[in-house]
Amino acid sequence: MKMRTLTAATMAVVMGVSPALADMVFPSLSYRTGPYAANGIPFADGYEDYFTLMNERDGGIGGVPIKVIECETGYNTEKGVECYESTKGEGALVYQPLSTGITYQLIPKSAADGIPLHTMGYGRTSAANGKVFNTVFNYPANYWNGASAVVNHLLDINDGDIKGKTLALVYHNSAYGKEPIRTLEELAKKHDFELTLLPVDHPGQEQKSQWLQIRREKPDYVTMWGWGVMNATAIQEAANIRYPMENFIGVWWSGSENDVKPVGEKANGYKALNFHGVGDDYPLYDDLKKYVYDAGKAAGAGDQKGTVLYNRGMYAAMLAVEAAKNAQEIHDTKEITPQQMRDGMEALVVTQATMKKLGMPNFGPTFKVSCENHGGPGLVTVNQWDAKAGEWNQITSYGESDMEVIGDLIAEDSSAFAKENKIKEACS
């Protein structure tokens, strides 16, 4: 009897000393097929390549190797559910579905399963209120910051007065596209401009009537919440009616190379928001070349590097890795659980020094996540497309958005959600 206990104790010690390090699992709910593939592919490639780099260069995060499980959603919510259920058992640490529709489905599930959800620049905006949405994060910027940034940019170029100007919103007729409407309506009241809403139905190839209306009403500015084929179609239609491109501002999901390149020269001057840097002029790319591209380990076709969405995917992976490192530090363990990952995300601080250390100096804004604020500061910049050079240029610095208006809306929407689902607002 005594012998047996001893053996058991020894076994426990041995196992405690050298635990078999399980992989850190980062599922990638990507879409490389369907009408949104043009935008889904670069993001998925960037996301995966960064994790590959971490594995190849640093041996994972804190010595624990990373495992990326890719699951094709086709931007379809039913497949998204299947992907979530099939990957969550593998020990998934964080989900980034890159779809507002799938996000809405995963929000209650992530709360129930305790797996954090990072919806970077998409998803449910009011998730910025961490007191209600404990496991959902949408730093560094959300749609309402985007809507406000559009208006702020208009204020900038009009010397602070856009009274009586007209702004048309061309939006994807879905949860995604409808997100900014409330903010824009509030801002329209505040700054006294006129807002026209022009919905475009999925998948967005048919926009003749919307642009006919724009041609007739001649709004001073057009802004767009589009995705996938809808983007390029809209820019083409704008070019067809000779709408001045510099008055056409897309959100960050309507501002990738794939959206403007099909239109060619005529897309010159088109503007789009962004919350991170563009191009491949960063030291990190040298490492990526050395460890990933030249080693033949690039995800997908490997032809997306340096594009806006590739960079965004990489940025998403980078923030996930930083949060995981954070979690390892906070809980003093190598093998983190999704719950600990959540804590790491909530305590995430990104400064210029961190960005520089990671080989991405000035790539994104500095920000700090807290329980009260899961959304970050919402610093947004405006990019402009140079068709000749074939590149995006950052034309403004990272600007603050109108948190006065947005803060109220977030409080209102999140408290409605809390009431509906009987959640007590609290910071644990």
Binding site: N76, T77, Y104, K109, R124, S174, A175, H202
Partner: protein, 373 residues
């Protein structure tokens, strides 16, 4: 040898007219029911229920519904997605408290029913859809074939547009999405994130079982015969005294009831949050139509077989190609389209009457086995 009527004597009319006249079939049916009700609930986990069991059960209901309309009554409909949306949105309204606004004094006053139990919300979702289905079935009295298909196609687009536009239908939520709040039945969560796999499974299974038995018996009875006579030749049917108005509208109503229940379950139990354009678009109409055609027109078993084929095959292919063979997800996804598409074509060439007909042929052969002469 085992599979034959011989020796299985029936002494009552009831026994003679039962669904499964062959003893072997009957026992198989009891075994399947026992397995589905008593054993499967213990085997299910989150993945199996969300990826396989729920979609299969829910699409089976939709396929039975559409089969009643197309397979039994011969009225082509492309509005399935729209009708499912009606079911989903009515279920949502009833489960969150159906409200109306009546002008009273200065402001509109809101009168609301208390939130209903999820079971009744789903049923009422079906009832509302039946009403809408009858409404959109009215043109079927004048037009048929392709023209009716186009009229129902209009219903599809109109209904999706309504639920996108009409803010009351999604309780004025900012995103235009409907999200199922947590609802309980006998103390167990049926909707919302904290459901047990077996609870949602049994909830849907009960609906499927009842609806399938009802459908089977309806189609064998007076109503079913009048539908089939309309399908086979409407003028002849009218001459022998079948009322086309009644036959066609009941077919539309009952079919829509089934489809509405499927939509309500799809939204509340399976997905939890729904965006009308994405979930209930024209693709859904085609998906259910394919199920019916592949499964076999005019067969309840065919509806199950078709739903299983269309729901399970992609999941199976994905698991084999990506999970087992480790292929890139995009290649696997594209190949999935190719394989499923090719199989549909091959099936329809080899057996134009669907999987149900295959099953019938097998049964015929089984009867003679092992002495085919």
């Amino acid at each position: 040898m085992l599979y034959r009527e011989v020796g299985d004597f029936k002494t009552t009319y009831q026994a003679d007219g039962q669904t499964f006249p062959i003893a072997f079939d009957r026992y198989r049916y009891y075994a399947v029911m026992l397995f589905a009700f008593a054993i499967v609930p213990f085997l299910l986990n989150d993945y199996w229920v969300k990826a396989i069991a729920l979609p299969f059960l829910i699409y089976s209901i939709a396929a039975i519904g559409l089969n009643i309309l197309i397979g039994y009554c011969g009225q082509v409909s492309l509005g399935t997605g729209g009708f499912m949306a009606v079911g989903a949105y009515s279920c949502y309204k009833f489960m969150t408290g159906f409200d109306i606004y009546i002008p009273g004094g200065e402001e509109w006053v809101r009168y609301a029913l208390p939130p209903l139990n999820i079971f009744f919300s789903v049923i009422l979702g079906g009832v509302m859809t039946a009403l809408v289905g009858i409404l959109f079935g009215l043109p079927s009295l004048r037009i048929k074939g392709f023209y009716l298909a186009v009229a129902t196609l209009a219903a599809q687009f109109f209904l999706v547009w309504v639920f996108n536009k009409w803010e009351w239908s999604f309780n004025y939520s900012a995103s235009g999405q409907i999200t199922a709040p947590e609802r309980f039945l006998f103390g167990h969560a049926i909707t919302g994130p904290n459901t047990e796999p077996w609870a949602t499974y049994l909830f849907c299974l009960v609906f499927v079982t009842i609806l399938a038995i009802v459908a089977r018996n309806l189609t064998r009875g007076h109503l079913g015969r009048s539908w089939m006579s309309i399908r086979d030749m409407d003028i002849a049917a009218e001459i022998i005294g079948v009322n086309p108005l009644k036959a066609k509208l009941t077919a539309f109503g009952i079919s829509s009831f089934y489809i509405g229940i499927a939509g309500a379950l799809l939204f509340s139990v399976y997905l939890g949050a729904v965006e009308v354009g994405e979930v209930f678009g024209i693709q859904k109409s085609f998906l259910v139509l394919f199920m019916v055609i592949i499964g076999g027109l005019g067969s309840i078993f065919g509806s199950f077989a078709g739903a299983a084929f269309m729901v399970l095959l992609p999941v199976l292919l994905k698991n084999v190609l990506v999970g087992q063979l480790g292929w890139a997800t995009d290649i696997a996804a594209h190949l999935e389209f190719v394989i499923v598409g090719a199989l549909i074509v091959i099936f329809l060439i080899l057996e134009p009457h669907g999987l149900a007909q295959l099953w019938r042929i097998i049964k015929e052969k089984l009867r003679l086995w092992p002495f085919p002469h």
